[in-house]
Amino acid sequence: MRPPALDLPIMFIDVRITAGAVTILDGVTLTISPGMPTVLIGPNGAGKTTLLRAAMGLVPPSSGLVTWGGRESSDPKHRAIMFQRPAMLRRSAGGNVRYALAAAGMPRSKRHERATALLSEVGLTGLDHRPARRLSGGEQQRLALARALARDPGILFLDEPTASLDPAATKAIEDIVRAVSARGVKVVMCTHDLGQAKRLAGNVVLMHRGRLIENTPAAQFFATPRTEEARKFVAGELLV
């Protein structure tokens, strides 16, 4: 078990993010604390991805404030993100992981061994030399996860890590996420899969049209949602 990341808590204080005339995040105030995974849910275009990217430090707020462990700017060394459609570097699977290790500053002599361990952790043992772009969808997601873990992050952001994967591949990813979280890594992820939110979440954040609707411990969210939107969402009604 590792100590909580220095970057925690991540605080969003009245964060607004706009792109041209479009408001993507609209006055979001949120605290991401150490502990079980925080799972963002909500319809397409709710702002989940942008919230993740802002928390990673990739998108600056148009107004408002994001702080990491109380600091307004923070080296992203202890954070890693896996995008919804991860780009595979034109290298072997092992080469992709070794590249991430190099970018994270690991000396060359240690990379090979560490890459092998990471590939084994995500269940890709033996695929070291396979071109990454020739892997199946599920394998590519797992490789992207290994690449993110190569940074040895204290906080791991996952943007719909199992979108368009079959149940077996989804389970493989969820098992890794559970193991990583159990080690003390803070996982922040978004998903469209309510079952997945139930299985993994410590707390659930419901987003709708750029606004934060509800941020509640998972058990409570699914049993007694506080807001009308959450009630609808949990009941499987379409939130539009």
């Binding site: 990739l58 991860p86 570097l89 034109r90 590249y99 772009r133």
Partner: protein, 230 residues
């Protein structure tokens, strides 16, 4: 056809005169491609990764320069290197060096434009990941050039194909001097006009074989790239 037969004999017998011409052609074009790569790859990569006012215009002009007429390049380099020209005191006119300069000017835009396209496409794909991995600017450039290396070698071969096949630039600045600046293409032009068809046809055969080998190389490199990098 007796012309064809004696041309073939010339090629197969390894005629020293013909061999010297082929050797000079390859030397000039390969050297030009080397210099053009040293200029074109960094310029192309820089253009792919920077944003400035007028960049679009530069890209359009660079793409247009890919189709630069060799005779015009030859004329420009001729004016530059001629006795009364700005670089006349170098005394390079009608030397192999002048031919290398002309072909470098001809090939560098091709390599730069193809590099720009390749690197820019790859950057679109890689941008989010490399940013998230906190990869610095210089490391990014090396990553993109390395990961695009198979496409870039194809660009170099395209440049070499262009250099090896052109006659307009080198005949003007080289002068087609026997045993000194005579290459395959200039010799073919001269021998044809003189009516010595066997030598012209023989050189033509050699040139076509070289072009086929280049394309086979490009094909092989592409396949290898797919195998290793996907």
């Amino acid at each position: 056809m007796s012309g064809g037969e004696s041309a073939l004999q010339l090629v197969l017998s390894g005629d020293p005169g013909l061999f010297a011409i082929v050797r000079l052609s390859l030397l000039v074009s390969l050297t030009a491609v080397l210099f053009a790569a040293l200029i074109g790859v960094p310029v192309g990569a820089l253009l792919a990764l920077t944003r400035f006012r007028g960049r679009e215009a530069v890209v359009v002009i660079l793409n247009a320069l890919m189709g630069l007429p060799p005779v015009v390049v030859g004329l420009a380099v001729f004016l530059l290197l001629s006795r009364s020209g700005p670089l006349g005191e170098w005394g390079l006119l009608f030397t192999p060096q002048a031919m290398v300069i002309a072909q470098t000017v001809l090939v560098a835009p091709i390599i730069a434009a193809l590099t720009r396209q390749t690197i820019e496409d790859l950057w679109v794909e890689y941008q989010a990941e490399l940013t998230a991995m906190d990869v610095g600017p210089l490391h990014r450039v090396f990553t993109l050039i390395w990961d695009a290396r198979f496409s870039l070698v194809t660009a170099l071969l395209a440049g070499f194909g262009r250099a090896a096949a052109e006659v307009g630039a080198i005949i003007i600045v080289g002068g087609n001097i026997d045993g000194f600046t005579r290459t395959m293409t200039t010799a073919i032009a001269l021998e044809t006009s003189k009516g010595d068809l066997p030598l012209a046809v023989g050189l033509g055969i050699v040139l076509i074989i070289i072009v086929i080998i280049i394309n086979a190389l490009a094909w092989g490199i592409r396949r290898t790239g797919e195998r290793y990098a996907g």
